[in-house]
């Protein structure tokens, strides 16, 4: 009897531990800065943000929070509220409703999994403006926004193609969804534009924020000979893996060089402030209209972080030239000819993949080694 009861306690503590595993305990958070209330009588914007990870993730959510803080500096913006580590799916409905109940008249939901919840709450609150990041559903008061991250991804691919010695480049992918696949393809096209012999090996972690799993995935790529790594996650675990083993690494989301001071080359990064300030101004002026925003480097929503000293001068010059071409619109990463993994042509010379096809991209281009679960 005693033994079984003790065992039962063991079970309960096991359950506690397992419950804990599903949470992200590494959250480091900052409180919103106190700000005196603005005096103006004109319409004030009070924004709410729903984050999928902790603001201290160093990547995706951190970048959104930097954008939020940039927006808060506007005189007509009241101190905003954010909710971090909100579960995707039905959980998000309560979070979004909570923000509206707290008086937010502009709500940003910053992960794909918040899509249904955003539309559900928006239906009940027609006077609030909702902006959903990376989704495809809109309503009268729901717009979507995202950035052409594939542009700086392509540029970072050029650097990787130039820096690799083993001609094996590792890519730690999150989920096999179009956003990630698009980034991998653009990166590989960049690599191949300067180094046709290099391959990009992809492993999936099926996580956005799980530093342990992501680190293991990065190590597995290093084990098979990759000497340049990049990744598509919210956390900088891949950078730490590369730093530990002396491989080069390209970050993502935010300038992550502090996590890999000796290995860091660059990172395609988000500058959400450019978009958040614009949307806030539109809401204040009453000019906001529901639409699908997909800005690129020309609007400075996406950037390439400053290149580190490890990148030689000639590569720096090349990247500078290509950056200017992308901003000017003369270089399009997804312009043909592009062939698929099997070598068959998917885009003819002179053609460019349409935005709608990019948004649903479901195949790898030549040079990528890995599989998309079908």
């Amino acid at each position: 009897m005693k033994v079984t009861t003790r065992f039962a306690f063991f079970i309960v503590f096991l359950a506690l531990a397992l419950t804990g595993c599903n949470k992200q305990e590494e959250a480091v958070s900052t409180k919103t800065a106190e700000k005196p209330a603005p005096q103006a009588a004109e319409k004030q914007v009070k924004a709410g943000f729903v984050y999928v990870g902790p603001v201290g993730d160093g990547g995706w959510t951190y970048a959104h929070d930097q954008g939020r803080q940039a927006m808060e500096k506007l005189p007509f913006v009241k101190p905003s509220i954010f909710l971090e580590s909100v579960h995707e799916g039905a959980e998000a409905t309560r979070a979004i409703t909570g923000l509206v109940n707290k008086g937010c008249n502009l709500v940003f939901t910053t992960s794909f999994g918040f899509m249904d919840a955003t539309l559900e709450v928006a239906k009940k609150h027609p006077d609030t403006v909702f902006m959903h990041c990376s989704g495809y559903k809109t309503a009268d008061n729901v717009g979507t926004y995202f950035g052409r991250m594939y542009q700086p991804r392509y540029l970072s691919g050029i650097i990787a193609g130039k820096m690799t010695k083993s001609n094996i480049i590792g890519y730690v992918g999150a989920f096999p969804i179009p956003e990630v696949i698009r980034g991998i393809n653009a990166f590989a096209l960049g690599v191949r534009s300067v180094n046709p012999k290099a391959v990009v090996k992809v492993v999936w972690t099926q996580t956005w924020f799980d530093p342990g799993v992501e680190r293991d995935a990065a190590d597995s790529l290093l084990d098979v000979g990759a000497d340049v790594l990049t990744m598509h996650q919210d956390a900088p675990a891949t950078l730490q893996a590369a730093e530990a083993r002396g491989a080069y690494v390209i970050g993502y989301n935010s300038d992550m060089r502090k996590f890999a001071p000796n290995s860091f080359l660059t990172a395609p990064v988000w500058n959400w402030g450019a978009l958040y300030t614009k949307v806030a101004a539109e809401v204040k002026d009453g000019t906001w209209k529901s639409r699908q925003i997909w800005w690129g480097m020309d609007k400075d929503l996406v950037r390439l972080a400053p290149l580190s000293d490890k990148v030689p001068a000639d590569v720096k010059a090349l990247v500078k030239e290509k950056t200017a071409a992308i901003v000017a619109g003369t270089l399009k990463p997804f312009a043909g000819p592009i062939s698929g993994q099997d070598g068959k042509e998917v885009v003819a010379a002179g053609a460019v993949i349409a935005d709608a096809d990019l948004l649903g991209m479901n195949y790898f281009v030549a040079g990528v080694q890995g599989a998309i679960p079908k």
Partner: protein, 358 residues
């Protein structure tokens, strides 16, 4: 020289009032200790607790959200507590929730039934049977080959979750979903009704009904008596002519089936589609709930409700004071810790014994 040693020993406590008051007291102590945490974070504890109360039960909306949150916890908690009654450790409620969600979604997406009641009944039955069979595997292995059900049920969780992902990334992917891991939305026939313009859906009342049914089964039937008898002394029960083998399989079947209903109610009542990560750990929380509820069906309802308050209230701390999520987890963990500790000290005392005897 010998160090002082401590030993836990069972205490025979015969104080029903204390048994009843202990959880209440432990909550108060937990709130008191957590208050220092709040103070350290610069938040007035009284205001914080008032806010938690207000946001989780102080309005129709808050209350409805708390009940919505409690619903899957009740189902899963009932399943787990039923098995625990028999000293069968079903750690697999999480996976059983996924199986239930998958089975119900399969019916909703591909059966083409248009009648509302028939569709929901088929979804419910599919979830019930599939969840039952899933957990029944562990029962068979246990009875036939003495395989420990803790290991089997725990590891089967990962299979269930990955199986769901396999379908969502493949055959069940919404064709209009731009390749994202979610199924198509259910037709209206496959959705549980909701009430008062909130998200409270009939799954909650089904959960209450199941709790009542289980209570009657356990307390008022011979079968329930047998389960408890086998749980408290399997040898004696066998001696008395009870068939422990079939009883174990059946109990695990029902346990899994109840947990699977959580999956059914989540997809039919709340999500209206199958998504990646349909349960954020309800199955594991259910273990704690079953334990705190002392494995009683009605207790599960009460504890699930309290857990709902804790979860919904945690949101409000973030919303109002922008406390970091890590703080919320610490706060929730602290309260659970005190509840479990109180439970432990009701049953055991720690006694210092002379060293050197080991």
């Amino acid at each position: 020289m010998s160090l002082p040693r401590f030993r836990t020993e069972r205490r025979e406590l015969n104080a029903p009032l204390l048994r009843f008051l202990a959880p209440l007291l432990s909550v108060l102590v937990a709130l008191f200790v957590a208050g220092f945490l709040l103070l350290a974070a610069g938040v007035d504890p009284a205001a914080a607790y008032l806010e938690i109360f207000r946001e989780s039960v102080g309005s129709i909306y808050g209350l409805s959200e708390t009940l919505v949150k409690a619903t899957p916890l009740i189902f899963a908690g009932l399943g787990v507590s039923l098995a625990f009654r028999m000293q069968i450790w079903n750690i697999g409620a999480e996976g059983q929730i996924y199986i239930g969600a998958m089975a119900a979604s399969g019916v909703a997406l591909f059966s083409g039934i248009e009648n509302h009641l028939l569709m929901l009944t088929c979804m419910l039955v599919a979830a019930f049977i599939c969840g039952g069979l899933w957990a029944g595997v562990a029962g068979l292995l246990r009875v036939r080959w003495q395989v420990n059900e803790v290991i089997v049920t725990l590891l089967m969780n990962y299979i269930a979750i990955l199986w769901t992902d396999y379908l969502l990334f493949g055959a069940w992917k919404d064709p209009k979903g731009f390749n994202f891991p979610l199924s198509a939305q259910f037709s209206d026939a496959a959705r549980l009704g909701d009430y008062f313009n909130t998200r409270l859906h009939s799954g909650f009342f089904l959960a209450l009904f199941c709790a009542l049914l289980l209570y009657l089964l356990m307390e008022r039937t011979v079968w329930g008596f047998e389960i408890k008898a086998i749980g408290s002394n399997p040898q004696a029960a066998q001696y008395a002519g009870m068939k422990t083998g079939p009883a174990i399989v059946l109990v695990l079947f029902l346990s899994g089936a109840l947990a699977a209903l959580a999956g059914f109610s989540e997809v039919a009542g709340l999500q209206h589609r199958l998504i990646h990560g349909i349960s954020p750990g309800y199955g594991y929380t259910a273990i704690i709930i079953a334990w705190l509820a002392r494995r009683s069906a009605l207790g599960v309802v009460v504890v699930s409700f309290l857990m709902g308050i804790l979860l919904v209230g945690g949101d409000s701390l973030q919303l109002t004071w922008q406390l970091p999520i890590a703080f919320i987890y610490a706060f929730q963990g602290l309260i659970l810790f005190f509840l479990l500790a109180a439970d432990f000290f009701l049953q055991y005392r720690i006694r210092r014994v002379a060293g050197g005897d080991a």
